[in-house]
Subunit: 277 residues, 2 copies
Amino acid sequence: MKIVIVGLGVIGGSYAMALKNAGYEEVYGIDTNIETLKKAKEIGIIKEGYVEGKEVIKEADIIILGIYPNLIKRFIEDNKHNFKDGAIINDVTGIKELFIDEVLSILPENIDFVFGHPMAGREKKGIEYASDEVFKGANYLITITEKNKESNIEIIEKIVYDLGFSHIKVITPKYHDEMIGFTSQLPHALAVALINSDEEGRDTGSFIGDSYRDLTRIANINEGLWSQLFLGNKNNLLKSMKAFEVEFNKILKCIEDEDKEALEKLFIKSSKRREKL
Amino acid sequence: MKIVIVGLGVIGGSYAMALKNAGYEEVYGIDTNIETLKKAKEIGIIKEGYVEGKEVIKEADIIILGIYPNLIKRFIEDNKHNFKDGAIINDVTGIKELFIDEVLSILPENIDFVFGHPMAGREKKGIEYASDEVFKGANYLITITEKNKESNIEIIEKIVYDLGFSHIKVITPKYHDEMIGFTSQLPHALAVALINSDEEGRDTGSFIGDSYRDLTRIANINEGLWSQLFLGNKNNLLKSMKAFEVEFNKILKCIEDEDKEALEKLFIKSSKRREKL
């Protein structure tokens, strides 16, 4: 089984590394950056690397797209005559609804796109931050479409478990985006707003414990990717942000009113929910 | 040097453990819970435990109060005739301004209270969660008052470094509370509001990655303690919450307006700040 990873950044690179460690030997890489390809070959996580890759795509049984959301459609357009009959395409994109219909409308009939979302990543970008550790025990989401073949979903699931993920959930693109607006994009918005609300020039670093450190880790954010994810999931994210504000204002009101009992109730609710997680 | 720790909960217990591992041998504990005292003696982190402790307080060179903010004043009142001449008292309380003046007004002249705040803790309560690991490399704040003797501050600083802390900052109680409203209480408010804003009945656990996990860790919160901390630092916390809302609404507006460029600017700002931390 020949696997081609398109885009060997922090996620694509981590995939290559995890596949290698899981015993997959026929893994090839495509990337516009020659240094990245060199590095990937040097550390032995791909068999060969290509800047263009037309030839290797022709032989690929599975193509994993580790590229930005806005590049997926163009990749399909550019390569629709290159895919091998029966090939499976898989992606790592954090939003789904927006582009799935577009992609399916141009996808050749004999190609199956199994859309996936690894719920693991790192704040950094680039192959030098690739690590197969991040996948261990993590969640993975498959957003199923009517065109998907059950056998192909099973092939992707097998690979996903081999990568180290421990839990796969199969859902619709619509539900995916709704949930991800809440569990992924909202936390990023909170982290960014938290650190941006600090007053300029304070020696904040001397006053922090684990809580501030944990809550702002993801404030170090790839602006090109995350602005796409935020705007590409506009309505769901806005809905989550507004629901958050309602809860935040409940706390604010308890403090203004010095209502200890009501405040404690909110804390008890959050503690119960966190323990259940 | 005889040290008495009052309150062997998760923090007091961790202090006892860290002192023991740092080679301090004369460490005694006071706690209302007999099981806690038994456990502490069993694992060898105190030499002896007391429910009342009047006698051991009389011999104590240093008394560390690992108790809730609202119990500090009463402890001083109850024991003001028991303290040894020249004894140093130290606390672990997360807010300062509110009770420091009250405490100083009843503190005997020959006793020095060096107010401290270890910027490390755990979500859990009770001695069974005590661990000296949490202090390693952490920040510690001393809120200095006009009554403190320089030599006593140095004694506390020595102990703090022995506990494993790597950075001590000496500041006024007022500035402490202002900063802590931002770096500690605001993150807790965000975590609570985030998890409380989830819709009931969803299988959220299947959709989370490290970001949601990290941001909600502190939503598991000791409601008795934290309601005291929130209400005891009301004005500073409200100020931080409102500053946060301004930044949060900037992100919200970028999304509503689909203003990618402005959104990226906010992300670049937050990334720079996080990297500087």
